[in-house]
Amino acid sequence: MKADRDASMDKLLASTLKAGRPEMRGVTPGEAHLDAETLAAWADDALDAAERASAEAHAAGCARCQQLLAAMVRTQPASEVPKSPWRMPSLAWLVPLTAAATALAIWVAVPKPTLVQVSSSEPAIDEIRPAAPRARSLPAPPDDTAAATRDQFVRPDESQLKQLARQKGQAAIAERDSTDRVQPEASVLSKDRKQESVEAKATTPTIAESANVAPATPAAGGAAAAPALSPASARAVPRAAAEAGARMETAAAPSRMAFAAGLDVIVVSSNPSTRFRLLPGGGVQRSADGGSTWRTEVTGATDTLRGGSSPSPPVCWLVGRGGTVLLSIDGRTWRRVTFPETVDLLSIVATDQDSATVTTADGRSFVTVDGGQTWTLRPGL
C-alpha cells in the first residue's frame, strides 16, 4: 500500500513536472539567471555557502537554469565524474589490505587439520583432506611427498593466499557496488530509471565513440575532431585559429607525441564494430571487432593523417597533411584521391563513398559528390 502511494506520486510528478511547467516557475520577475561564471563555479564547487544557497534558490524555481545545470552535468567528462571514496587512489590500498586481513582472519579462524599419525612414516593424505576444506581446490600432492610438502599442501602458500585475498577483495567490491546500486526507496520508480545508476556505472559510453570521428586523446582529437563547418560558423572561425590548429603537428608536434605515447586517433564507423586507427606516418589499422584486434592496412600515404569519416563499415575517408585524401570502399584497399590544393586538411565528414566535405586548416570547406574526382569550394566561404 505504501509502495503504491509512493508509486502513484512518482508517476504524478513525472508527468506534471515537465520542463517549464508553471509550478516550477518561482522566479521573481527581473531576477537574473545564473551566469556562466556562477554556473561554472557551482560545477567546480567554488561557490561559498551564501552564493550556493542563492544559486540553488534561483535554480529551484527557474526552468531555464535547471536546463543549464542539466546541460552542464551532461557535458561533464567521464574523467571528472567523482568516484566512490573506495575507488579514490588515496584509499585504494585499503581494498587489498582489507581483503588480506579477511583472508588472514579466515585462516586463523578455521581450525587446522589434525594430522593423524599413522604407523607408517607417511601420513595418509586422504585423511587430511576432509578436515581441510580450504585445500580442496589445490592439487593433490604426490604420494611420496615429504612432511614439509605435506605442510605446504595443508597450508596454502603465500601466493595462493594472496590470490584468495584478491578474489575476496574483488568479491567484496562487487558486493559493495551492487549494494550501492540498490535503491530501496527507488523501488517505485519506473523500470528504466531504476537501472540508471547501474548502467551509468557499468558502462559509460564515451562521447568519442558516439561520434563518427573518435579522438582517443584531446591532443590527437583536436585535429581529428574538427568538423566540417557550416557556412555561418566557418565564416566565424578565424583563419588564425584554424592555422593554429594546423600547427598542432607541424610546430611542436604534440600529436606525434600523442602517437608516440600510443594514443591514436580512431575513426568509428556507423557500425561501431568497425574502426580505423590512424598511425603516424600515414599508417592505418582496421578493427572489425570493436577495437579488440587490429590489422595494419597498406595505404601508400606517408603524410600524417588527421581525421576520417566512415559512413558505413566498408567505406572510409581519411584526410591529412598536404592535401592527403584517402578513400577505401571495401575497408581494406585504399586509393589516394586527388585534392586540388596541397593545404593541410583537418577533418572530413562523409555521407557515402561519393559525397564528402573536407575542412582545410585555413577554415575552408571543399565538397565532392563524385568520390573525389572533382572538388568544389563550398560557396560563401
Partner: protein
Amino acid sequence: MSYAGDLELARRCAAGEEQAWERFVLEYRPLLYRAADALDPSGGARDLADSLYADLYGLAEPGAERQSLFRYFQGRSSLATWLRAVLSQRYVDRLRAGARLEPLPDENHVAHRDEGRGTGPPDPDRLRHVALLQQALARAIEELDARDRLRLGCYYAQQLKLAETGRILKEHEATVSRQLARTRRTLRDNVERRLREDHRLNDAQIAECFELASEDPGPLDLREMLADQVPADAARKKSEPDRSI
C-alpha cells in the same frame, strides 16, 4: 582551488598571444567539441562550439578593437568548466528559443485523448478531481524548500539520473534517492491533507484522484487546468450540491 594558470592562459589568449592560443587550441578545442557532442549527439551543437571558438578568439570588425570572450573569465572555476558553462548556456538558450517557435498543442488535445479512449464525453467529476489534485500538488511543491524543489526539478523535469542529480546537489546518489522518497511522502501527505480539508474529499475520492492522475498523466498544465476547472467548479457549487461532501 586556484585557477591562476587558467586565468593567465585566458588573459594571454585575450591579448592575442600566438603561443597561448596554440596551447588553448590544443588543449581545449577537443573539449569543446566533446561537450557539444554530449549536448547533441547528432552533432547539432557543433556549430555552437565553432561560434564560441570564434568569439573566444575575438574577431573584430575592421578598425575596431578585438574583444575576446575570454575577458569574461574571472578564474572562479577551471577554464574547461567555464567553457562548458558558456556552451551549455548558448545551447539551452537556442533550445528554448526554438521551443518558443514550436506550434502550441491542439487546444482540443484533452478532448481528443478522451475520444481516443472511446469513453464518450469526459466525466466532469474526473476532470474536477484531476484539477483539484494538480492544484493541491502545485501548492505542496511551492511549500517545499528550494533544495527539495531543485532536486525534484532535476530528477523529474530535467530527467537527470540519480547520480547526475547528486552531482548538482553535491549529494551521493543514494542520498538523492532517499531525499526524493522523503519529498514524495511529504507531497503525498500535503496533497491528501489539502484535498481532505480544503475540498472535503473523502479517502475513496482521494484515492480516485490519484488513480485518475496515474491512469492518464497526460500533458497536464496546471494553469490551463485551473483556469478551466476552478471557475467551473465554483459555478457548479452554486448550482448544485457538492456531491463530494
